[in-house]
Structures are given as structure tokens and as C-alpha cells.
Amino acid sequence: MSLVLAHNKRDSRILAQKLAFAAVALIAAAVVIPILGLFGFIAFQGASKVNWDFLTKNPSALDASGGIFPAIIGTAWLIVFTILLAMPLGVIGAVYLTEYGGRSKLVTLVRAAIVNLAGVPSIVHGLFGLGCFVFFVGGSIDRIILRTSKPVWGQPCLLWGACTLAVVILPIVIKSTEEALAAVPKSFREGSQALGATKWETIRRIILPAALPEILTGAVLGIGRATGETAPVMLTCAASFKPTLPQGLGDQAMLLPYHLYFVVTQVPNAKMDTKSAIALVLISFVAASSIVVILLRSKFKKARKW
């Protein structure tokens, strides 16, 4: 039994390995290229159109040229209220899971609920928002409190859009907050409790402040996701063409992602650069929030002293 023979046999195996590695690398490239293609296409077609006027002017009713100002403002409103609703609920949920729940059956159930909530298709969220918030809650307000037959709250508006989107991003917020809380060392909890602080005092004064940067990172993650969601807001909030800015939570509003959908599918004479520019603004915002998340994470990891 010579080593040379073994060596030869090994050669064929090495060849197989080289081929396999090359094939897998090709697969990875096949994934990267379409992403680059997508970004490239949108940037190439839309960049020339994105300028100050585009960002600050109203769209024209005729072919959606002009600007996207109302859609930017509408999205900003929507995101602010979504975060205001989702963050407190999400943080409380995470505090319950990490600090109070222990290993009870209920915690298992809550976790299962969160996994399933995260898997609910966005159009189902939209139906839910429509059936629950718009027609049931809003409709009840109109019927019972305002006693009117003309819909005031019983129609799509910013408030119901924000409620729906808050449900959409709740699992994201809970998960990231949970990770943030779990990263706070046990010694902080012990130190505080040994000084006679109660559990809640410890959470409020030590754990939440220590976890705050990462909780905020989770909020940025939620903002990124909420900005791009179309299906849930399509049914609960979005206006297709409404050049006036929203005045309050009861108003319908133009929204960036829905505006893109609307222009692409319902405005046949819209120009390619207009459509691409809307997509470019939307995608830039989402990509920026993604990059902010990645940067924040590595920054906090480095800055952390414990």
C-alpha cells in the first residue's frame, strides 16, 4: 500500500472539492448579482429625477410627475405613530418575557404567539386592520359616540394604519428588546437587588438604561420594516392621490410604498424616471435604516464596558 496511490486517489477527491467549491461560489454569485441588478436598475433609472423639487413638490394628477412631498410626510407621520405604539408594548412584552415570566407555560405560549405573529402574511394584517380597527373600532366610534352615519373614524386613516403597522413590527421590537435585556449582566441585577431595590426598581433604573442603546437599535429595525410595508397600509391608511398634507390622525395620507405601487400599476402614462425615483427614495430610506442598525450594533458592542 503505497502513499503514492493514496495520493492519487486524494487527487481526484481534491478535484471534486474544487469543482464543488466553484459551484457553490457560483450559486452565491447568482444571489448577489440580482441584488446588484435591482439596486443598479433603480439607481440608474431614478437618480437623475431625485432632486430638491422632487422631494418637496406635489405630484401632478395627470402622470404622477412632479414630486412626492405628501407621500414623504405621510410616511413620516405613520412611522412616528407606529413607533409610539409599538415600542412601549414591545418593551413591556420583552420585560415580561425576560424578567418576570420565568419558565412558565404561559411564557411558552407567549413565545409561540410571537413566532406566529411574525409569520402572519402582511395582507392578512391588512385584512385584520380593516376588519378590527377601521370597521369595528372606528365604526363603533362613529355609531356610538359620534352618532353619525357618515364615516369619520370608520374609514382608513393614519391612526388605523399606525395601529396595524404596530402589530406588524411588534414581534421585531419584542425580539430585539429581549436580546438587549438578556445582554445586561446578571451582576447588575444582583448588585441592585442586594441594595434593597425591588425588581421593578432594578429594571427601571439599571436594566432598561443599560439596554437602551440596543433597544433603540431595535426601534430603527422596526422603522425600516414599517417604512416598506405596503399591503397592511393599503387597506387601512393609504390614499392614492391626495396632494394636501395630513392634518391629523383621522386623515388618510399618501404613503411612499403605496404611492410606488399605485403609480406603477394604476398610472399607465407615468414615466419610468418618476417610478424609479419613488423606488429609489423608498429603498434608500430602508437601506439607510438597515445600515444604521448594522453600524449601531458594532458601535455598541465595542463601547460596552461590561
Binding site: Q193, L195, T198, A210, K305
Partner: protein
């Protein structure tokens, strides 16, 4: 071995069990210690992590103005025992304790006892300095703030007083608003001591407080302990026998969850009764 006394049925606590809202305020009723009784007293304490028995029938008295040292090899239960006194073990799922533990003759595991109030009276310093991610000042006044003090001037005075007591004032007085993490390991530990003192405890539990420190920092903390016992009952866990013999008045030797021997430090280190104590002290195991 002392069994729980019949008129004191052994108490069992299950962590997470609801605490009665009728909180007994421990400061209002303070029976004067009976002669010969320790400030802190444990009688017939058994401790379980789930089905694992970590302590078996431990009884110990710790007296005011004394330092009691708990020594023994790793895993002998001395840290677990220390944490019995401020109920830090309550936080561990599946932990269970039987026996009787008292502070000034009051059962600290009685269901009417508020754990937070108990821990205000029985402070603890940990093995590894654990300052909070706050400024030096905020670390010291954390306890007073938690216990309701809001007056800025009072808090400032408190901070100075206890930083002085912990022999740290001169080193940090110009940087009170800097992060506690900027301090050295020894300074951080003294900060944690100051932080514990600031809630004015009657007892201070120290869990291997110098094990992570260099000899110089260790020396400073040992000097500090001797100061502290003027006002306090101090119980210290240490794996360093020289430290026990240097600072403590009483020493208790633990082995495999049992307390083998307990008495004056001098006697334990010179004429131990038990062969196992002698073996440990002379360095034959552990």
C-alpha cells in the same frame, strides 16, 4: 448538629411565591438581642437547588462588631450559605431552603418579610466588582435614591460620607461624574463597598471581595473591613486562608455543604478540633 427548634417550624420559601402585602416594617420592632445570640443566626439550614442538596444542617451565629469568615474549598457551599442571609438565592429558580435564619431574632424567611427591606439592612459586596453603568456619584447614591431620597444636597453629602468611609474619596472627589468603569478594579470594589454602606446596613456580607484584586488593593480592602466592623456585623467568604486569619474574629470551615467547625479564628488556625479542618488549613486539599 442543631435541629430546628420545635416551636419554630422550619420555613420553606419557594422563590416567586407571592409575598404577603402586609409588610412587616422591620425597623419598628427591634427586640434587643438576647445575650449569647448572634446578630445574625442560622439554625439547621438545609438548602436545595432542585434536587441537589447544597447545604446540610448548617448553624452559625455572627456577632456585631466582629468579622466572621467562611472558608472551605470551592463548591463547599460557603457562598450559597452567605446568600441565605440576604435571600439572594430567592432569585434562583428551583431553590428551596428549610431551617431558621434570623436577624435580631426575627425570622427573615417569614412570609411577612419584605425582601427589599431585608436587603437594605443586610448589604452585600460581590466577588467581582459590579458597578452600574453610571457615574461614580450615581453609583453611590443609587441605594438612597431607590429608598426614596430625592434631595440633591443630601445625596451629595451621602456620597461624600460613604466614599470617605470606603477610603475612596480622595481618589475620586474630582471625577464624581465620570463613569464608574473608568476606575481600577480595586477602586471599583471600594466603590461597591461605599455603595453598600450608603444604604446604612447593619450587616455587610462580602463574597470573596478581593479574589479579583492585586495584593495592594487587597490590603486596602482588608484595612477597610477592620474599620467597618466598628459599626457593622461583617460576614466574609474567602478562599484565601491568610486573609481569613488576618482579618476575621471568628472562622467557620465548610466542606461538602456541611459546616465542619466554627470558632475563634485564632483557635481554628492553631488548634483545630477536626482533622478535616486541619488538613484543609495546612493545605493538604482544596
Amino acid at each position: 448538629m442543631v435541629k430546628p427548634m420545635p416551636d419554630h417550624p422550619s420555613t420553606t420559601i419557594e422563590p416567586g411565591a407571592s409575598i404577603d402585602s402586609e409588610v412587616a416594617d422591620m425597623t419598628t420592632q427591634r427586640p434587643s438581642p438576647q445575650p449569647g445570640r448572634g446578630k445574625l443566626s442560622a439554625r439547621g439550614v438545609d438548602f436545595f437547588y432542585g434536587s441537589f442538596r447544597a447545604l446540610t444542617g448548617v448553624s452559625l451565629e455572627a456577632y456585631s462588631n466582629e468579622i466572621t469568615a467562611l472558608i472551605g474549598p470551592s463548591g463547599c457551599g460557603k457562598s450559597t450559605f452567605l446568600r441565605v442571609f440576604n435571600r439572594m438565592n430567592d432569585e434562583i429558580p428551583g431553590a428551596k431552603i428549610t431551617g431558621k435564619v434570623t436577624l435580631d431574632d426575627e425570622d427573615i424567611y417569614h412570609k411577612s418579610v419584605d425582601v427589599a427591606t431585608l436587603r437594605k439592612k443586610i448589604g452585600m459586596v460581590f466577588q467581582k466588582a459590579n458597578p452600574f453603568p453610571k457615574s461614580i456619584f450615581e453609583n453611590v447614591v443609587y441605594g438612597p435614591r431607590v429608598h426614596g431620597e430625592k434631595n440633591r444636597a443630601v445625596l451629595r453629602d451621602t456620597a461624600e460620607k460613604y466614599l470617605r468611609k470606603a477610603a475612596l474619596w480622595d481618589e475620586v472627589k474630582d471625577k464624581l461624574n465620570e463613569s464608574a468603569f473608568a476606575l481600577s478594579g480595586g477602586q471599583q470594589q471600594r466603590l461597591c463597598i461605599a455603595r453598600s454602606l450608603a444604604v446604612e446596613p447593619e450587616v455587610l456580607l462580602m463574597d470573596e471581595p478581593t479574589s479579583a484584586l492585586d495584593p495592594n488593593a487587597t490590603f486596602k480592602i482588608e484595612e477597610l473591613m477592620k474599620e467597618l466592623k466598628q459599626d457593622l456585623t461583617v460576614v466574609i467568604v474567602t478562599h484565601n486562608m491568610q486573609q481569613a486569619s488576618r482579618v476575621s474574629d471568628k472562622t467557620a470551615f465548610f466542606l461538602l455543604g456541611e459546616m465542619i467547625e466554627h470558632g475563634d479564628t485564632e483557635k481554628i488556625f492553631t488548634v483545630p478540633h477536626d482533622q478535616r479542618t486541619e488538613d484543609y488549613i495546612s493545605g493538604r486539599f482544596g
